[in-house]
């Protein structure tokens, strides 16, 4: 574990810190606002920033900041959960493909190829048409969509590591396969896999925002960043912060992590 942490610090520390920051914001953010995100008050709709409402009000006169913090919570937590799913299942299958019998790799490889031949947004539409838009369904949909990609990355990494001398030495020592996987292969995959987690997190944020914007992602009364843009589209004519601020937040989230990953991969 300490070895893994050391690797994170050396390469992708900025990306990891950024993701940690967003998760913290998602967990604590909604506690920071005194307004109820669902309360429809007497305030005018699409009002500009004021002392009572720091970011103005939305199309029903609700406090934009409170809704924004709730939106961040849904977007970040949903996407992080689905990323954890896809990366852990992907890593498991990737290592299994390298360390077990040949047919395992043949079957998983073909399946991954098949899934990758369906565009991700299309696959999401197809699954949502059948399973609906509950939180669990959304997490599973996005998790399954990005599993083949994570599988390919981890398989490539594991293949490279499994050929290295220290693995051969461990085999010659007579270590068991679980020991080799846990002590030799996994710790050495951790660094590059963190970059993969960051990328897939961004992909899921983009996908979920698009789905919610199209009205088939997170459903009211819950709110995420994409559905916030959707419900406040009318406010565009007034330049309302209720529509513009979530767009900026999505951009800051994804561009930030992308830049952090980009700079750490360039330093290698």
């Amino acid at each position: 574990m300490i070895v893994m942490f050391g690797k994170l610090r050396s390469k992708h520390d900025r990306a990891v810190l950024l993701i940690a920051f967003w998760i913290l914001l998602a967990l604590l953010g909604p506690l920071c606002s005194s307004h109820d995100p669902g309360a429809i008050g007497m305030q005018p709709v699409f009002s500009g920033p004021s002392m009572a409402h720091l970011l103005g009000t939305d199309y029903l006169g609700r406090d934009t900041l409170a809704r924004l913090l709730n939106g961040i919570r849904h977007t970040v937590l949903l996407c992080f959960a689905s990323t954890l799913f896809s990366c852990s299942v992907g890593t498991f299958l990737g290592i299994a493909a390298v360390t077990s019998r040949v047919w395992v790799e043949a079957v998983t490889g073909r399946l991954a190829d098949g899934f990758l031949s369906i565009p991700s947004l299309l696959f999401a539409l197809l699954v949502i048409a059948v399973f609906g838009t509950s939180t669990g369904a959304l997490i599973m949909t996005m998790g399954i969509i990005y599993t083949p990609g994570a599988y390919r990355t981890s398989r490539a990494l594991a293949q490279r590591i499994a050929r290295l001398d220290f693995v051969t030495v461990a085999r010659a020592r007579g270590e068991s396969t679980p020991y080799i996987i846990l002590q030799e292969i996994l710790p050495n995959m951790a660094g590059p896999m963190i970059a993969d987690v960051g990328l897939r997190f961004i992909y899921s944020v983009l996908l979920l925002s698009n789905l919610s914007f199209l009205g088939i992602g997170v459903q009211p009364p819950e709110v995420d960043l994409g559905s916030m843009v959707r419900e406040n589209m009318l406010g565009m004519a007034y330049g309302s912060p209720a529509m513009i601020v979530p767009v900026i937040v999505i951009a800051v989230l994804t561009v930030g992590i992308n830049l952090a990953l980009d700079s750490s991969s360039g330093k290698r």
């Binding site: 299309l122 048409a129 059948v130 983009l206 925002s209 698009n210 914007f213 830049l259």
Partner: protein
């Protein structure tokens, strides 16, 4: 063409057929996995068991799964996608004109984004690490990292709301003059072109940078070849394969963009239809749209791979 090359292409073609089979089975399987079926949606909660049985018989739902799959596949092969659960219209008839609209939108965007991104990608690779390259890299990274609807809504905000230059909706029905045509199509086409542009510029630049760092380019430089000749004669012919591959792959990202753009501008295309069908859980329509999209995607990726195979140096000699 030598035999090794045709073997490679044949193998790629087989792989495409396998993927196609996978896609068809997946589309059918996902949409038939539900415990309840279309009858629940059609008849509502108050349906009597007799009505449900009759309905299931009418729709052929009392048949085993394999028989239903066969009947469905047979229909698809003959251009029959069944009837919409929503309005009973033949799905094929509804999709036809909308597919035409979507192809028009996608084609026009590709016609703009491909030349522009080739130019930007190649030039920024040539002038690597200059201010020009940095600006393009940062802008395209920013555009790749935001969802498609952000670009589309920003375009609406700037051109329709702030500048009052263009209508925010694509009113394709009332096109009678060139002016109206431009007004109706400009915004969706430009937004979609922007969405695909960023991806394409990045991939083109990467392919070109890769070529420019090859030893034979350095050799040509050392021989004293001028910059124009170096690029046009030595670099571009070798980069063409990877670049076409990059373009074809980016065009497949156009499919995702089309969905969002059509909804933002209420453009009457197949992607907008699919989103509506998903919201109302109109399964036959979703199936048909998904198949159309997946087949297009498959064609693009297969084309990209075949171009890559053809551009392999060992293939060119024969």
């Amino acid at each position: 063409m030598n035999s090794q090359l045709s073997v490679l292409i044949g193998r790629r073609f087989l792989a495409a057929c396998t993927s196609l089979a996978f896609v068809i089975v997946t589309v059918f399987a996902i949409t038939n996995i539900l415990p309840g079926d279309a009858t629940d949606a059609l008849l509502g909660q108050g349906a009597t068991p007799e009505a449900i049985t009759a309905m299931r018989h009418n729709l052929g739902l009392d048949q085993p799964v394999f028989v239903r799959f066969w009947v469905w596949l047979w229909g698809v092969l003959h251009g029959e996608f069944g009837h919409s659960l929503l309005n009973g219209l033949s799905v094929a008839d509804v999709i036809g004109p909308r597919l035409h609209n979507s192809l028009l939108l996608a084609g026009a965007s590709a016609a703009i984004s491909v030349p522009v991104s080739l130019f930007l990608g190649i030039t920024s690779a040539i002038w690597k690490d200059t201010v020009y390259d940095r600006v393009i890299s940062i802008m395209t990274l920013g555009m790749v990292s935001v969802p498609e609807f952000v670009i589309a809504t920003t375009a609406v905000y700037v051109f329709a709301v702030r500048l009052h230059l263009l209508p925010a909706l694509a009113d394709v029905g009332s096109v009678h003059s060139l002016r109206q045509f431009l007004a109706a199509f400009f915004m969706p086409v430009a937004s979609l072109a922007l969405v695909t542009l960023a991806q394409m510029v990045r991939m083109t630049r990467a392919a070109m940078v890769d070529t420019l760092s090859a030893p034979y380019i350095e050799m040509a430089l050392l021989k004293g070849v001028g910059p124009a000749r170096l690029i046009l004669v030595h670099a571009i012919p070798n980069a063409i394969g990877p670049i076409i591959n990059a373009v074809a792959l980016s065009l497949s990202s156009l499919l995702g963009g089309v969905v969002v753009i059509e909804v933002v501008f209420t453009y009457p295309g197949i992607a907008g239809l699919m989103v509506d069908a998903v919201s109302s859980r109109d399964v036959p329509t979703v199936q048909a749209c998904a198949l159309v999209f997946c087949v297009t995607y498959l064609l693009l990726t297969t084309f990209a791979d075949i171009v890559t195979i053809l551009s392999l140096p060992r293939g060119r000699k024969a």
